[in-house]
Each structure stands twice: as C-alpha cells, then as structure tokens.
C-alpha cells in the first residue's frame, strides 16, 4: 500500500509541474552567529512564516546556520544564498559585509553607530542604532521628565498594531518571549520573503537593489518601514518601564514633522 502511494508521487509531481510556476522557488538564507540565541529563534520564526506565504505563492525557504567564523568566508556564488542574516559583533560583521559585497547582509544584533556611518552598500541594519534608542529616550523624557523608561526595538508585552498576534505565535512556536534581537531576526527573514514573492526571484543582487528601494515593510509596529541611505531601518521605538510598554517614539508633540527620521541618523557622513 505504502509503495503504491510512493510510486504515485512522481506522477503527481509531474502533473503538478505542468502548471506554469508550480515548482517552488528554493530560497536559501544563511544565519551567521551563535546558535541558541533569541536572534536565531527570530530568524527561524520569520522563516517558518515566510514558508506559510511561500506555500501559496510558490517559494520554499531554507535556512543554513553557520558559526561566527563563517564571517571570514566567501558566502556568495556556490552557497547560493539569497541573503545573509548576521548576529555578529561589529568587526566580524564589517568583515562579512566587505567580503561578500554582492550579498545583502542583515545586521540583527549590533547597535554601534559607527556601523551605520560605515555606509556599506550591502549592509542593512534591522536592529536600531544606539543613537536611535537615545533619541527615543530623550524625546520621551521631554514629556515625562521623571520616567525611567528604556528604549527597545520590541517588547513581549506590546499589543497594539497586531504586535500581540506576533508575540503570541512567537512564544507558542519558539517557547521564549520575543525580544529586540528576535524581532530583528524575524523582520529580516520576513522582508526577504516579501520581496522574493513580489519579484518572483531570489537573485541576491536584484534583492539588494529592491531592499534599497521602497519596501514599505510591515514590521507589526503600525508603520511602514524602509531602509535609510545609511542602511538603517526606520522604525518605531518602544519605551518600556517596569515590564510595561509606556510609550512609543517618535513621541507625538516632540518629534515634529521629521517623524520616524527624528530617531537617529539617516544620511551617510560626507566623505
């Protein structure tokens, strides 16, 4: 009985492939960093959600987890990766991005402002910079001088804008609360999937160009997000105090017309 079903499979696949575009497009992503981190859990979550979308639109996403030492390797070409998601300290991250100039490299953990000022064309920072977090806290304190709230990219208690749905499924699927780095990992995988589905292609150079254009990514923080000229993702920052989200930056009435751009730098330093 089992055998007869197995023999049917190639037949069914054959029939299936008669429909144009029915073969899924295989999209490979690399994660470079330590295993067992919330950042990696975020990437895994993003990937499994990308595969939910891919089931309907004809893509299949696969993840290869590589140790930090892989930052010194050439990952383009034979690896066939569409993009690299990196959870690395700043020096290793720079070396990875410089060594693989044709691959989009997502930074999901390093907050250093210098990395943004480096302005590498293929280095995209999903995690907010130190400066963005400081600006968010400064805006918040202008309205709430006594508040001790700290700035975060994400918080497991945030509920608005469908954040509660994301927090809920992340905790159920990964067994840990979603933190800043988990969110960044999730977001990197999801934005790749959005663009691959839209473009029906996973070539890294085309993907990089698309990422540098208007992506209007929905990071489940209530705004559409795009990368700035310096490679930093514009985003809402949460103010968290005593385990509660007490506010959001840009802070209304303080940030002014600059909106999201009131948080951190956007442009590359003049050379």
């Amino acid at each position: 009985m089992k055998r007869s079903i197995l023999t049917l499979i190639p037949l069914l696949l054959g029939l299936y492939s008669l429909a144009p575009g029915a073969e899924p497009l295989i999209v490979k992503l690399a994660y470079v960093g330590e295993p067992g981190t919330s950042a990696l859990a975020g990437v895994r979550q993003g990937l499994s959600e990308a595969n939910v979308q891919g089931r309907f639109l004809g893509q299949e996403y696969r993840l290869e987890v590589l140790p930090p030492a892989a930052a010194e390797q050439d990952l383009s070409g034979e690896g066939g990766f569409a993009a690299v998601i990196a959870a690395l300290p700043a020096p290793a991250l720079l070396s990875l991005a410089r060594g693989n100039p044709d691959l989009p490299v997502f930074n999901i953990t390093a907050r250093e402002d210098d990395l943004r000022d480096a302005c590498l064309p293929n280095l995209l920072h999903v995690i907010p910079s130190e400066r963005m977090l400081r600006d968010a806290e400064a805006q918040w304190r202008r309205k709430h001088p006594d508040s001790g709230a700290r700035a975060h990219a994400w918080d497991e208690h945030f509920r608005k804008y469908a954040a509660s749905q994301l927090n809920k499924r992340f905790r159920e699927d990964q067994g840990i609360p979603m933190d800043d780095e988990a969110w960044a990992g999730w977001a990197a995988a999801r934005m790749v999937a959005d663009l691959v589905a839209r473009r029906q292609s996973a070539d890294p150079e085309g993907l990089l160009a698309a990422l540098r254009g208007r992506i209007d990514f929905d990071g489940q923080k209530g705004v559409k997000m795009n990368f700035r000229p310096n490679g930093q993702l514009s985003q809402v920052i949460f103010l968290v105090e005593n385990g509660r989200v007490v506010g959001e930056a840009p802070v209304r009435g303080v940030a002014g017309a600059a909106g999201l751009e009131s948080l951190g730098k956007s442009e590359c330093p003049a050379s």
Partner: protein, 316 residues
Amino acid sequence: MRFITTLFLALLSLGVMAEPTHRVFVTNEKSNDVSVIDAKSNRVIATIPVGKRPRGIGIAPDGSEVYVAVSGEDKIVVLDPKELKITREFGVGNDPETFAVNPKNGYIYISKEDDAKAEVYDPKTGALIAEIPVGLEPEGVAISPDGSKVIVTSESTNMLHVIAVPEHRVVANILVGARPRAATFNRDGTRAYASSEIGGEVVEVDMASHEIVHRQPLGSDKAKPKDVVLSKDEKLLYVAGGRLNKVMVLDADSLEIKKAIPVGKRVWGLALSRDGSRLYTTDGVSGTVSVIDTGKNEVIATIKVGKFPWGIAIDD
C-alpha cells in the same frame, strides 16, 4: 378552500424574506454592546449588551437574523432584528473577528486570526462546515454577490486568498500591499477591491485573471484604510480612511481620488443602504456613526453610539 391553501402556500414561500426593519446595527468594541439606529430618524432606539469585544456583524440573507462576532467570548450571538433580543448563540472558538454571510447558502465565512484559517459555519445549527488554511492573521472577508467566490485577506502575509464555493478551497492568491484589511466585490463578481492598512493603498483586481489592474496610494501615512464599499451604480468606491478621519471617494474604474468626506475620528466600518442613498460609517475614537448622503457625498447626521464602534450592518 383550495384557493386559500394555495394562497397560504404562496405567501409562505414569499415569507422567506422578513419585512425589513430599516435599522442599522453597530457593534461597540469597548462598551460590549450593539447600538440599534432607526434609519428613518437617525436615532439610537436600543442598546443591546452582547458580551466582550463585539466586532464583526452581518445579516442573514432573508433578513431574519443579525449575527455578531463576540471576540472576547469566542462566539457568535444571534439577534432578532424586530424584537431586538438575543435569540441564541454558538461557539466558534478562538477570537472571532471579521466575517461575511454568503447571500446564497446563508453560511458564515469567518477569519480566524490566530489560527491562519478561514472557517465556514452554518448559523442555523452552529455546525462547522469547512476549514480553509490561509496566510497569517486572516482578517477581511468578502463574498461575491452570486455566492461563488470568497476573498479572505491575510494581514501578515499580504495576500488576498480567493476561495471557491462550494468546494471551499483556495484557487488563487494575490499579493498586495502591507496588511490587507478589507475587500469587496462588484455586483457581477468580475472586479474586487481591497485596502492595505500599512501599505496605505487600495487595489482593484480583475477576478478573471486575478491581476491587479489599478493601485492607488492614499497619499498620507495617516491613511490606514479599512472598509471598502462600492456605490450602487458602481461608479464610486468609498474607502474608510482610518486616521485620516475621512471617507475617501475614488473613481471605481481608475481609482483616482475624487473627494474626501470628513467624518469622525478613526473611521473603520462602512455600510451602504440597499437603495444606495446612504452610507454609514463607524468612527472608532469619536464613538459616532456618520451618515453620508451619497447624492451629495456629504455628512447629513452624526449619531453618538457606544465606545469604539467597529462593525456596521443594515437591515433594509
């Protein structure tokens, strides 16, 4: 005698359509009740407590029942539109939000946000008829007037899923802008329109090819569009503009923006009267329903309802 019997049977068969009450039913998400407005006087004539977080609302094809999704209590509550009483309820599990009633088979098609599926219920029995896997965070549900096609939007995977009835399977997936919220069909089912909340745009889809034929950004980051409704002559598309606090009026062919009608704050829900002369909005933050005269496309009445009015349906 025979004549009378025949007449009686004829009346009985006609009797499937209940006499319309000309009442507008509004779910109030944060006051846990339904406001009932008399469409002739534009006055609230009753407020019916229904349970925690009522959101989606719809009316049976024969007008005999009003269905309310009570999100906080995982159930659909059934109201009698004449008596204004709860007649029964049935469980639908896990946070029901938006649904549509199929005008042909009378089934409720409901999106289950946390389960990535659409479910089909027979409201007469409460039986689950079908479960259809869709993308993440399914939200808006629209049904073609002939009942043969259902669109479910998946908010987190940015798709319109086209579901065939009665097969109840997905036959097409259309990628649209970020966070698709709501959709509607034209009368013959050849076109569909959908709003994207984060993308801040509206698309027009050709339902034969499943291709997007027009895409219209609403021009402001405040525009977080939700409900979309066609005018009776199908020349105009009304779009609830969310934080714009306006209903946008678009040309239904080109999607060119023709007008913006200021309404209350955070406008989400829209419903058009059967004769097409009135458009009703739910203005979430203001706690009002705005009544628009579609002849002039101006607000002619603003009616205070409960806290955070969300869904709206008309028995007419």
